[in-house]
């Protein structure tokens, strides 16, 4: 069993990275690996409420299934909220706290150190 850190760093629909990253994370738990997810940079936009987009899988809806796949460690980069110009006032960031917990830069470095493997999407 390996401890995998999966970094989701892409906006939900600009590329297929968000969806492919999630597929990758879910498959890893099915094969006995321990998965931690962190949303960084543009990946934070995956945590915001989205309208249904035709022709692609609904990322919002799929992310809500994470607890059912034994992925309980789920974080977002707290300092990236500010770097991305996202504030609690302009976005309903309360949805963020439902899916992921805030983590500071030192905490992220610790996650990387503790992981056997790091994969970025």
């Amino acid at each position: 069993m390996a401890k995998l850190l999966i970094r989701l760093t892409s906006a939900p629909y600009g590329t297929s990275d968000a969806s492919d990253g999630l597929d990758f994370a879910l498959a890893a738990t099915n094969y006995g690996h321990d998965v931690t997810i962190i949303f960084e940079g543009n990946g934070l936009y995956q945590l915001l409420p989205q309208k249904k987009v035709n022709g692609v899988k609904d990322q919002s809806k799929r992310l809500k299934s994470l607890p059912f796949f034994d992925i309980e460690e789920c974080y977002y980069a707290q300092s990236d909220i500010e770097r991305q110009g996202m504030s609690a006032q302009s976005y309903s960031l309360d949805i963020v706290s439902d899916l992921a917990e805030p983590l500071d830069d030192a905490g992220i470095i610790l996650l990387v150190e503790q992981a056997d493997h790091v994969v970025t999407f």
């Binding site: 069993m1 390996a2 297929s16 990275d17 492919d20 597929d23 990758f24 498959a27 890893a28 099915n30 094969y31 006995g32 690996h33 056997d116 493997h117 994969v119 970025t120 999407f121």
Partner: protein, 117 residues
Amino acid sequence: MSNYTVLVTSAPYDDQGASTALAFCHQLLADGHHIDQIFFYQRGIYNAMPAMAPPNDETNYFTAWKTLNKNHNVTLRVCMTAGEKRGINANDIVPFEQTGLGEFFADLHNSKNLVQF
């Protein structure tokens, strides 16, 4: 000496990742390391397209990976969910194996290192 899994998520030509991955794999083998598997995922599956026809002064990645497999017996695996979606023809990608994330993660248990390009 160590065991490696290499994950290729970069398309040939569009990204530098495929080129760097190839160089990295050659060096691993030259230094006596073992490559458990090279797994092609996302747009990385385009590396397994035999119909690619680059100009003479550019690398043909399909041939380059095929040569690596032939000379060193390295396992090349394509995620077929990613491949079929993009129109890859399962019949003519040999020596790339048609697999999925399941095989990738099952064998990842044996690898000490995972490197993504």
